[in-house]
Amino acid sequence: MQQLRRDPILGRWIIIHYDRIKEPVDYKDNSAGKKNTEKFCPFCTGNEDKTPPEIYVDRPPETRPNEPGWNLRVIANKFPALRIEGDLQPRGIGIYDFMNGVGAHEVIIESPDHTKDIADLSTEQVSKVILAYKHRCIDLKKDRRFQYILIFKNHGRSAGASLEHTHSQLIALPIEPKKVREALQGAQKYYSFKERCIYCDIMRQELEERARLISENEYFIAFTPFASCSPYEMWIMPKEHCSVFHHLKEEAIGSLASMLKDILLRLKKVLTDPPFNFIINTAPIQHEAELDYYHWHIEIVPKLTKVAGFEWGSGFYINPSPPEKAAQLLREVS
């Protein structure tokens, strides 16, 4: 039997396919694969001159910029999707609108160690990664041309990673992306009727039902969303209401790092190192103040199914692993 579930924020329907339930072993072929240490890697220590100069770095005081000794580096993307120079100059030709592709595209090299994935790094190192995200957001939001900062990670070739050395990316956009706008609108609609944040309500319901809960610590919870688009999709959310990622308090960074590491390790074990994307969903940067109706969160999406004609045509997703079952397996793995 199939069940249609509606995403409470976006209004999008998802098909949960109970007749064709897939077990973790069914996804085995998707493994991100072993790392090749022989091949040249521009992100490794010693190859600093092969990348654009560092924008942000975590390194001991006795070492010099763009030389070995660093723990984490942020650099401009060598093949940027958007360019930092220039103005937007929005214009139109007939019915078509366009503007210059102005923005920032940066790469966060999470560790000098080529052999490790983010899940294998120490909690302290993951904290450094989160701190780097936060600092880059605070710096980039000063640029008035930008409206949104998207931080994401592609792990594994089929999830879009072109280099295997663990890294994440940041793109500062001159417009509010459609997905973000949809989520904001959905959340605002709920708030204007109920006067409560929909994400806080989701969290309350998840903590009560517990069927989709994976893990919980002092500041964060992790669960599989009710209308997950992809098998084993997971969300990490701060327990305290907060709409802007870079407003994350210093004392909560360690808690987020250990949650992220824990969740990614569970995923790696249950599905034998699957390719995945994670995305930080946060409020647009021009809202300096906190929004009552939005709640930042990290979305982790394993790449296990193919998006085909049906998903493209309908915007409707088919998920062959019920989120309750996925949460149970993720909870039980040690």
Binding site: A81, I95, P177, F316
Partner: protein, 340 residues
């Protein structure tokens, strides 16, 4: 300089990253070679390997579920929706759900073991489109169904199976899909102010600038859309306004342009994986909620063909925004020039 383009209907932005511009050859050879199955369930002579047929175009005097057919429509062997039962909507706290009532059918486009629609004859392709029309008209009678989505997954990278036999999937849904709604809302917004169909305006503008037009055949136009999400994305539209695909009277012209475009894609990109999707208006029943009267005027059915050459990664997923390394003007030029 990369450029940001806004899809005029949906309002979705696309990054045309011309600095990463690629030639067709950079995308080729992506179609993995898959082994041919000896007993393909979709071939003539293997009718008993599929569920019994719902509809078929066949020789007179041949009986159902036997050879002698040209196009055959059967229920999916792995249905994502089921036809039996009533719609049951429920809420649990914040969360809404319903059971998966609908239909999932497979339209087998040829009795021969041919993989690509480009290799079928025009007459055969027209017969396939006639079956699309038949099935939509039949499913329109079922009041539980709101929308019929017809699409094709060709090649493993496009989500197709390894059985390389030409077929279309049909999904009849009890809800209007979000993508469809977005497009309808975008088209209505444009119509409200201008009282013109946005797609008709698009056709006029494409015909006057000409840089993105690939072909015009028998009242149909094929062009690379202005805000293409994918390299070599192609849309086919009827030049005469019409919102319902199933009101199309003659499918010959459509079959002719379809064959031409698919042949060109196949030659230019060495048999690439692709998806195509038929975008048509939802069923309009006066009693249902959300009905609006201008759909007949503001919406225009069309086919979207998307070669699957690039990967969708965290950025696209997080933003709903696409990075396309090839400008549609270049894509149109290649496709216009390629000899078939």
């Amino acid at each position: 300089m990369p450029e940001l383009r806004k899809d005029p209907v949906i309002g979705r932005w696309v990054i045309i990253a011309t600095e990463r511009a690629k030639r067709p050859s950079d995308f080729t050879g992506q179609q993995k070679h898959v082994k041919e199955t000896g007993d393909c369930p979709f071939c003539s002579g293997y009718e008993d390997k599929t569920p019994p047929e719902i509809f078929a175009v066949r020789e007179p005097q041949t009986s159902p579920n036997r050879p002698g057919w040209y196009v055959r429509d059967v229920p999916s062997m792995f249905p994502l929706m089921q036809i039996e039962g009533d719609i049951d909507r429920q809420g649990r706290g914040l969360y809404d759900q319903m059971n998966g009532i609908g239909a999932h059918e497979i339209i087998i486009e040829t009795p021969k073991h041919i993989a690509n629609i480009a290799d079928l004859e025009v007459k055969q392709i027209a017969a396939v489109f006639d079956v699309y029309i038949q099935r939509i008209k039949d499913l329109e009678q079922d009041k539980r169904i709101k929308y019929v989505l017809l699409y094709k997954n060709y090649g493993v990278a496009a989500g197709g199976s390894s059985i390389r036999h030409c077929r279309t999937q049909l999904m009849a849904l009890p809800v209007n899909p979000k993508r469809v709604k977005e497009e309808l809302v975008g088209a209505r917004r444009y119509y409200e102010y201008r009282e013109r169909c946005i797609f008709c305006d698009m056709i006029r503008q494409e015909c006057s600038t000409h840089t993105r037009v690939i072909e015009r055949v028998d009242g149909f136009i094929a062009f690379a859309p202005y805000a293409s999400r994918f390299p070599f994305e192609v849309w086919i539209l009827p030049e005469d306004h019409g919102c319902d695909f199933h009101r199309l009277e003659n499918t010959k012209g459509l079959a002719r342009i379809m064959k031409l475009v698919m042949k060109k894609l196949s030659c230019a990109l060495d048999d690439p994986p692709y998806n195509y999707i038929l975008h048509t208006a939802p069923f309009r029943r006066m009693s249902s909620a959300g009905f609006w009267k201008t759909i007949d005027y503001d919406y225009h059915w069309h086919l979207e063909i998307m070669p699957r050459l690039t990967k969708i990664a965290g950025f696209e997923w997080g933003s709903g925004f696409y990075i396309n390394p090839m400008s549609p003007e270049d894509a149109a030029k290649y496709l216009k020039d390629v000899e078939v």
